[in-house]
């Protein structure tokens, strides 16, 4: 379970997150929507400790992410993260990209980690690209590679930071399909997204962020059809 309490985040004088309270249960799919600069991506970075926080607390399975005594490297293996820029490692083949962390971080043998990598590449439908370098892959394939890379650590949570925003429109579908597949398999997911269709169809809950505040959270039906907040309604009217 991910518990976020009274979380405040500043970039210099800029107050990016203004007291976020949010719990995500095991098995839940949460989508976070909102305009650019509303703090939704920053929230993901705070959850896996890539950004420091100024106030409040984030706990993952009861472990405080920002506490000094926490072994962040170990905690991060519980949380896979997929970025807007897919950041494939260009000097490694698809298989090596996925096999790297199991070998280095978890100390698996070379053969074991390659086996894990092979399975995850098949999982995301890249079994025919095993020995290919990322430069020979399309954006959509590279993003699926990034998903496989994260899954290879057998995470309990997956964080998606606008995973489809940097993709050409015709490549968005394959990545969303992979994310849908994960959701169906019961993965706990937090997806920052601009894909309203995905948020509506796949999520258990949808949160709308506005200027660093979680304006509204609820089931997709509430957020998309019966908004309680004026701002949510206005935002959705604009993106439709």
């Amino acid at each position: 379970m991910i518990e976020i309490k009274e979380l405040h985040k500043y970039f210099g004088d800029l107050h990016v997150l203004k007291g976020i309270d949010l719990n995500v249960e095991k098995g839940e799919v949460l989508s976070i929507i909102g305009a650019s600069g509303s703090g939704k991506s920053t929230l993901l970075y705070c959850i896996n400790g890539l950004e420091a926080i100024q106030k409040g607390e984030v706990k993952v399975d009861g472990v405080s992410v920002h506490a000094k005594e926490t072994n962040l490297n170990k905690l991060r293996t519980k949380m896979g993260m997929v970025f807007q820029q897919w950041n494939s490692f260009p000097h490694l083949t698809a298989l090596e990209n996925v096999a790297l962390a199991p070998r280095i971080v978890k100390g698996r043998s070379k053969a074991e980690s390659r086996e894990i990598a092979r399975a995850q590449l098949e999982h995301v439908g890249l079994n025919d690209k095993i020995d290919v370098y990322p430069s020979a892959l399309s954006g959509g394939q590279q993003q699926r590679l990034a998903i496989a890379r994260a899954l290879a650590m057998e995470p309990e949570y997956m964080l998606f930071d606008e995973a489809t925003s940097a993709l050409d429109p015709e490549l968005v579908g394959e990545v969303l399909d992979t994310m849908r597949l994960l959701a169906e398999e019961g993965m706990t997911m937090i997806c920052v997204t601009h894909e309203m269709g995905f948020a509506r169809d796949v999520s258990d809950r949808v949160a709308y962020f506005h200027e660093g505040v979680m304006e509204e959270i609820g089931p997709p039906d509430q957020i998309f059809n019966n908004q309680k907040s004026e701002r949510t309604a206005k935002f959705l009217a604009n993106v439709r």
């Binding site: 890539l50 993260m81 970025f83 490692f89 280095i104």
Partner: protein
């Protein structure tokens, strides 16, 4: 009667052997100083890329000095300094040390550029997988960044190979020193210099071919 004693005699096959031995010395000096200089240079470049402040107050100035002062001055200066302070080092050792430090100053900048070319998103991708800072450096940042500047490094290495000729001022019998001695004896400067030049080419050419091969391999 005996043959007349002659100080001057023509360029013979034996001299080719002298030059080959000298080329071996040049190769030895170059390989040692380039290797040591590259390892140190990557370390310095990493410090420079990590912290502008720490980097510039600790090693920034020293590296700038080594890059800016002509190598020949550094060689003569430090060689004599070593001897003045009672460190009896051979011209060979002094040459390798000074050339190595000089190389590290050049490589530091190249390496810094490469390491800095790997942006925050790539580093975060590594960290998000649970890799520690050093694991991210070792397996992600350095391989990507250093490959990006590999052509510049080859330029530095070939430059240093040629600059090793300056070690001749310390009197070590490397290519240029031996070539000069042979010129004095044979009075055939064009021939001797052409042969010495051919040796330098023979040393450099395989390196640049191999480098080009590596670059092609990495690009595919």
């Amino acid at each position: 009667m005996n043959e007349p004693i002659s100080f001057f005699s023509g360029f013979g096959p034996k001299d080719l052997w002298y030059l080959a031995q000298a080329a071996w010395q040049t190769l030895l000096i170059s390989v040692l100083s380039i290797s040591a200089g590259t390892v140190m240079g990557i370390f310095f470049g990493w410090i420079l890329s990590e912290s502008k402040v720490v980097g510039s107050i600790t090693i920034g100035f020293v590296l700038d000095a080594f890059r800016s002062v002509p190598l020949i001055i550094q060689l003569v200066l430090f060689y004599n300094l070593f001897n003045v302070i009672g460190l009896a080092v051979s011209p060979f050792t002094a040459g390798v040390i000074i050339l190595g430090v000089y190389t590290s100053a050049l490589v530091a900048n190249v390496a810094r550029g490469g390491i800095e070319s790997v942006g925050k998103p790539m580093r975060r991708a590594g960290r998000s997988l649970g890799l520690s800072y050093f694991q991210t450096m070792r397996h992600v940042v350095w391989p990507i960044g250093l490959r990006a500047v590999f052509p510049s490094w080859v330029g530095v290495a070939l430059g240093v190979l040629k600059d090793s000729a300056l070690v001749s001022v310390l009197g070590h019998p490397e290519l240029l020193k031996v070539a000069r001695d042979l010129i004095t004896r044979t009075q055939q400067p064009l021939l001797v210099l052409a042969v010495a030049g051919a040796f330098y080419f023979a040393l450099s050419f395989p390196i640049s071919r191999y480098a080009a091969h590596l670059e092609r391999k990495w690009q595919s």
